[in-house]
Symmetry: C2
Subunit: 459 residues, 2 copies
């Protein structure tokens, strides 16, 4: 006679189409957290999720307002305080879709092409939220399980979760749990499951330079007044040395060196330089001397220019000496760098390198420390086995270049480490035009989470 586990898997396979439709519905809502004009969409997404949670069997599901976008919290057995608790994390907000003209189909009109569903958020991370809810629904479709499943879906991850830590702090009881599952990490490729045990931190800044009191005629003033666009380029070009190292004072002081053991692990990962060239579409890589690409991304801190704006950028020519220049600059951090230290280093660097001919301002946008979790905890094993069951391959344990500050916050506040994985991959082009979710991997994800839940119970 077939087990509940097998029946749940069966249910998931019979409901593939409906699970994909659920994802399409969620991607349709333009929940861009950084855009004030989309505030309505944030509320609508939260309400959509609450309806869905109650529909698939959660007993309690509520929207909690914050100073920013609302948080959704739900649980299946609010009254059974004795049961172990699995807390599932997700963020329902997405990155801005621009540049719009590079999308083959509209970012909020999810479109299937081949094995992929295209749309902003399809992979990061509405696909992961829908996979989790599909798995939970599949389990519920069978019998009761001795596990209380809680979910927390925030709406501000893409803007640095400014209100989440405070929310967790003030709702410790509500969010108390035994295990945390966070599917905001990802796989390396469709045929290789992965569990992430390391993440980089983030410190994001906006730098604004002010030169003359107004835009000037470049003929009438060029050569007499310092051009803030030029000053911006000068100072940014000083932020790296000839070896590709970041030059902020003290930037590397707290960086934990890579052990030979770790470097060996990195070398085992099937991500060669060619792999990165192909995925990024470049002919040559670049970066800090002395490290492989996968090491630089996974275990070395970096500094990136995320945006530049100054003067006239329209069609044609305008002979202007701009009054203003702006750059968005972010650093990715590794253990044990502190985002606040890096902010101080950034300010010190600017004080040392900006001339008195311009006035400047810096805004601290978002940030969080790096994270290294213990890959040997029980729940990690439960996920590892689940993935092995589904893929027939032992998952690799990896360190990622991205940042998931919430995992560090939850560990600190709730005292529980997160199992970090996910069913997106680099080819998904998250944060880019034509983001997509690989649907076969989406369904493998659903089955993995079903097995994960049963493994937790039976282990």
């Amino acid at each position: 006679m077939t087990s509940n586990r097998e029946k749940a898997i069966q249910f998931a396979r019979e409901n593939k189409v409906r699970f994909e439709e659920n994802l399409i519905e969620l991607v349709k809502i333009p929940s861009v957290s950084t855009d004030p004009e989309q505030k309505w969409a944030m509320q609508q997404t939260a309400e959509h999720l609450v309806r869905h949670l109650l529909a698939i069997g959660f007993k309690q599901a509520e929207i909690y307002p914050t100073e920013g976008h609302p948080v959704v919290v739900a649980q299946t057995k609010p009254d059974e305080k004795k049961l172990p608790v699995l807390l599932v994390y997700g963020h329902y907000d997405v990155q801005p879709p621009d540049p719009l003209d590079l999308w083959k189909s509209k970012p909020f009109e999810p479109t299937r092409r081949g094995d992929r569903l295209y749309g902003r958020g399809a992979s990061d991370m509405k696909g992961q939220i829908c996979a989790s809810l599909a798995a939970i629904e599949s389990v519920f479709s069978q019998n009761e399980i001795p596990l209380n499943i809680k979910v927390i879906f925030e709406g501000e991850e893409e803007i640095g979760s400014p209100n989440l830590a405070k929310f967790i702090e003030t709702h410790k009881e509500l969010l108390s749990c035994t295990y945390i599952f966070n599917p905001d990490a990802g796989l390396i490729s469709a045929d290789l499951p992965a569990i992430t045990y390391g993440l980089r931190g983030l410190a994001y800044f906006e730098l604004r330079l002010y030169g003359p009191s107004h835009d000037l005629h470049s003929g009438g003033f060029g050569g007499a007044v310092h051009n803030p666009a030029q000053v911006l380029c000068d100072v940014i070009s000083k932020m790296h040395d000839s070896k590709g190292r970041v030059t902020l004072p003290g930037f590397y002081d707290k960086v934990r060196p890579l052990s030979d053991e770790e470097r060996k692990e990195f070398s085992r990962l099937p991500v060669t330089d060619d792999y990165y060239k192909q995925t990024a579409g470049v002919s040559e890589l670049w970066g800090e001397e002395g490290y492989t690409a996968v090491e630089r991304i996974g275990a070395r801190p970096t500094l990136e220019v995320n945006g530049l704006l100054s003067g006239f950028t329209g069609n044609g020519s305008k002979t202007v000496l701009p009054a203003y220049a702006m750059a968005k600059i972010s650093t990715r951090l590794v253990p044990d760098q502190d985002p606040d230290d890096v902010y101080a280093q950034f300010i010190e660097f600017l004080k040392d390198n900006l001339p008195p001919t311009v006035r400047w301002e810096v805004t601290k946008m978002s940030g969080g420390p790096a994270l290294l979790t213990n890959p040997h905890i029980l729940e990690a094993k439960a996920m590892s086995r689940a993935m092995e069951t589904v893929w027939g391959v032992t998952p690799v344990f990896k360190r990622e270049g991205g940042s998931i500050p919430v995992a560090a916050d939850m560990h600190e506040i709730l005292g529980v480490e997160s199992v970090l994985t996910g069913f997106g991959m680099p080819e998904d082009a998250i944060h880019s035009p034509n983001e997509s979710q690989h649907l076969p991997t989406f369904h493998r994800g659903i089955e993995s989470i079903i097995h994960f839940i049963y493994n937790l119970i039976e282990m």
Copy 2:
């Protein structure tokens, strides 16, 4: 008994209000030559000018289509081939008005505040066109004069006059003349008239860098892929050395050194460093070592960043590693630099300084050589005396930082040097938000042109 000259001056004084209204009407039409969406406004401005020219007594006024925006040519005595000819040049196109949010009143809704009329083009150069036509109308209001006055108004000066030289070449006969008056230069201040004998040339480029095939997640790829925004900053920062000199190979080879005589003239101009600080609204100046600000602007070549664009520039933060970065970069040239040489130097510089990690393209936007005219020709004296009559001050002869390529083209094709002056000044904020024309100077300009015309006849 009062002379015709005095009667014409009288007429101008009685019609001040109407002459200002003519300027207001012209500024209302948004003739932005670089914006394809304003094409209708270019045609409308040309038609408006033709109507006005015929109304004030021109016998012949026609619109000539070009591959770009139309040219307006008119003359007062088409049938009297024997008369000396004064050709008046003007451009009816204007710079783009952005950044719009910095305008106190709408750029195409001319608004009077105090002594000034605010609006895009009020000073550059619709104010100068209207002053010229007001003066001509005032002269006509009296009797016939033994002079055929021709005008040529182009619509592409602000985009580098791509079609004008060809037009002049193919309409030599129509434009043949004895004197050329070009009021697209300007004064140093309201109480000091000036005639410009030197202008800088221009070579304007758009540089586009292409990195990865699409925007990347800065966490997933930062540190492995070369960021084109960073590469752009690196290469731009190399375009000047520590002494503020431009580093394009051979850039200074053909630069005519400043003679002691010229430096003495420059030192006589009432434009101190403090003057430039005040006008530009900066606390410190910047530029090539060894030269005063007025020398750097008037007689030394410079390179300016006119615009920068890359990645995410909206509100908030987006953790993107951009696929693309763009800069608009222009050089101001002095005798005897050749814009084509400078283009070649720019390309060579990029070949030497851009890494193989990015793909790049350069578009040559517009350009023209510098100009030095003879300040002692008869028509220059006629204008000098006219200004002295109106201001009671001897005008200064100066070299300007801006560029008026048409003056060089006309000299080459028509064999006639231009009298370069104008009734705008640095405080007018041309090419900037809140451009304005100082109206008392506008009316002094009208009287100066009346005296200039009578001086030409009587000299």
